[in-house]
């Protein structure tokens, strides 16, 4: 009855490839004459489209002293241009049945709208307009500065886990701006002004520093024609600086931090190691680290939870995490949330013991096959969401990768051997390049 033979699942893994349909069949790329990259992802199942413009500029591209300005500017791009009043951009999107928003990260800033496919031209017209023509009032924007400070309150100040993360990241990077939070340090955010925002805008917002991603019920030639019409006339910025941030010196000493807060109900230990990221034409090491994270902590059946949660019952939760999508050196992390009665010092020792045993024992072949099969299946499941595909391409192309790298990645991951995973583990687990953080409960101070 089914198209595929029902073999025992273990045979199925190795022998039968998933029905061949991959994202590559649905992706078309162009570059406009002014240097703007265009990626079109076709998905004709629903009459919708997501339109995104990604700038190759994020918080790590900020000048020292104005942390948070990339994100502040992102908010200000909704505050009007020569043609649009403050807030009118979103009003128009909404009046067309769409939704819009934006986000900022270390390596990119992106703006997007989701609308009916026949509204694409209008979205492009407005997005192209605010690439160059934002018009801001020096006093008005102070209200928006209050908004981002409340955003920081909500995301960071109210949450000890977030404060802990900021402190760990600051300790992780000795020189690189990844040590500065995307939202900014509060004491610098409160002084951000129009000049700071416009300086960043003029430096980074131009077509040759942008990637247009359109995903949904569209044809590539239509998208190209619309993109030429709306984005094509914007002149390139020949003064666009090369993307080179301050880089890390050799890290030669382990860092240990302890963050205490009375609001912490569940203490844990987390360690991050400086780790290589995916580089153009050179993704093997990152692929091995991706699988290492899966093998160690990717699911219930991975090494750390199996040992610490299931067998020894010394942890409530144990995991490992890594994402290779980053312009510069990223981190590989491990975390252990101890069971009641186990101290953080013991939890740290447990974690290290399990990892040492793992390197000694090697990778379980069946586990690795399960993981690889799941990653192959993920290529099928991912086709269900053109939004998340659009995000994947945008993030990759603004994190130093090419379309070819994105398309080569799944095969590279599949080709990684157990030996490469162990070699990656031996390389990355270098305590001199690590920050070990304890998040603890502090006693309440009574007045």
């Amino acid at each position: 009855m089914r198209r595929l033979i029902a073999l025992a699942s273990t045979c199925l893994l190795a022998a039968v490839p998933l029905r061949a349909q991959t994202i590559e069949d649905q992706v078309t790329t162009f570059q406009l004459e002014n240097g703007m990259d265009v990626v079109v992802i076709e998905d004709h199942r629903a009459p919708a489209v997501v339109h995104m413009v990604w700038y190759r500029a994020g918080s790590a591209d900020e000048q020292p002293g104005v942390s948070g300005v990339a994100h502040f500017l992102e908010h200000l791009l909704f505050k009007g241009t020569e043609k649009l009043a403050p807030g009118e951009f979103s009003e128009i999107v909404k009046a067309n049945g769409g939704t819009d928003n934006a986000f900022t990260s270390y390596d990119y800033t992106a703006y997007f709208q989701r609308v009916a496919a026949d509204r694409l031209g209008l979205m492009m017209e407005m997005e192209a307009d605010r690439m160059k023509n934002v018009q801001l009032d020096r006093e008005d924007i102070l209200t928006e500065r209050d908004v981002i400070i409340e955003e920081r309150n909500q995301r960071v100040e109210n949450d000890p886990g977030s404060l802990f993360r900021e402190q760990r990241m600051a300790a992780q990077y000795l020189n690189h701006p990844y040590g500065t939070p995307i939202i900014g340090w509060r004491h610098e955010m409160v002084n951000l002004d129009l000049d700071d925002a416009l300086a960043y805008y003029k430096q980074f917002y131009s077509p040759n520093n942008a990637v247009l991603v359109v995903a949904g019920d569209v044809m590539p030639d239509e998208v190209l024609a619309l993109a030429q019409e709306h984005y094509g006339p914007i002149p390139r910025n020949d003064a666009l600086p090369e993307r080179a941030r301050p880089s890390e010196p050799p890290q030669m000493a382990e860092r240990r931090i302890s963050f205490e807060d009375p609001r912490v109900a569940q203490p844990y230990v987390m360690r991050t190691y400086l780790a290589p990221e995916r580089d153009p034409g050179d993704q093997r090491k990152a692929a091995a680290l991706t699988l290492l994270a899966e093998v160690l902590g990717g699911s219930q059946t991975s090494v750390m939870p199996q040992k610490l949660q299931f067998e020894e019952r010394r942890s409530v939760y144990a995991s490992a995490f890594y994402s290779g999508l980053s312009l510069d050196d990223t981190t590989f992390g491990v975390v252990n949330v101890p069971a009641e009665g186990v101290t953080l010092e013991e939890a740290e020792a447990d974690m290290d013991r399990i990892i040492a045993e793992f390197i000694e024992t090697g990778v379980d072949a069946e586990q690795l096959e399960r993981i690889k099969f799941q990653l192959r299946a993920a290529q099928v499941y991912e086709l269900d969401s053109s939004d998340s595909l659009a995000r994947r391409y945008g993030a990759a192309l603004t994190s130093g990768l090419t379309i070819e790298d994105v398309h080569a990645w799944p095969e590279i991951v599949q080709s990684i051997t157990p030996e490469e995973i162990i070699a990656a583990a031996e390389d990355v687990f270098d305590r001199d390049k690590a920050v070990t953080g304890f998040l603890r409960t502090a006693p309440e101070v009574t007045q």
Binding site: D146, Q266, F373
Partner: protein
Amino acid sequence: MKFFGPLIAFMMLAAPLRAEIDIVEVQSPGGINAWLVEEQSIPFVALELRFKGGASLDQPGKRGATYLMTALLEEGAGDLDARAYAEEVESLAASFDFDVSDDAVSVSARFLTENQDEALALLRDALIQPRFDQDAIDRVRAQIISGIRSDLQDPDTIVGREFDRMVFGDHPYGSAIEGTEESVSALTQEDLIAAHEGALARDRVYVSAAGDISAEELAALLDDLLAGLPETGTPQAPDIDVTTEAGVTVVPFDVPQSVAIFGHEGIARDDPDFFAAYVLNEILGGGGFEARLMEEVREKRGLTYGVYSYLVPKDHAALYLGRVASANDRIAEAIEVIRDEWTKMAENGVTEEELETAKTYLTGAYPLRFDGNGRIANILVGMQMDDLTPEYVTTRNAQIEAITLDDIKRVAARILKPDALRFVVVGQPEGLES
């Protein structure tokens, strides 16, 4: 509107899109109903099951039983212990998410066409023959208790809990679905078996699927999947009236930003005025930057990162709620602005322009929701639980279009109750006292 004016006007005249999906009603030989949207372009299926009742079926003294039971469904079933079960699911690259809310236990399954039969056999075991092994109970219970302790230190959670406690008291809605450390610690294997039999029964199950499966295939598998469940389960919880008094409740907590929930009685999903209320809320505090609350509290005054209001039609009560967070020295002002807006809209309704904009948005956005198997299956099962028919996807926009300014005015006066608008604030708010 300046430059873009002509284009916009044109766009708004264009006929609203209709959701282009074809819902097929399926009945299995054993009498189980399901809705299907067949979509063969991607070789997988999204299957959604909902069991009405959920955590509000917890029996007195057993708070948290349904929650723990649901968490344990994937922790060993049939012949497989927790680890073996998880390995099997991974081998098939299937995913089963089990979740519980006040009113339902939800199962969201996703599996490849190529190994559909094996995946469904595993899902069946989790639903029909969960093991509730003692070691799995102890391990998952410890995780839940860790979560309960963290929730007690989280202002976003505290504020919701306090509002629920105040409004619903001893009704199951009045306490956390996870239970308390004490109640969860006391749960036994027998309690979990009872919770399983009570919550996962055929008299309360709703099913939908979207993806690479035909109506015949779906009908055939439903009996295999669900026939082993008991015919009937625990009687549903009683309805409860919502009464609130205008005013502020402060829960002191040492954070720099106060977090607030506000609200009062809402409106039932099957009330004839529900659509008007829905449109009204869109204008008052719905999703975007243009809503009045967002405009007044964030855009004009910079008092918050986000302020929203939303209708909460539960099975046994209806609430109209909102949320805001502002620094301790600014929350009092935010609350004042929100109160004013609430009163203003109750008295005056909305403008013609606001209504037209909201309609254009809601009708234009609706078809865009159906853009993936997982999302379609989710919408379909929700429609069934709301007693809607498949035709709803084609008539819904017309119902929105039919709302008049007078409807909004009448419904605003009916459902917005400034005299009952209660705020619960967690933090160290300045200038506010209980």
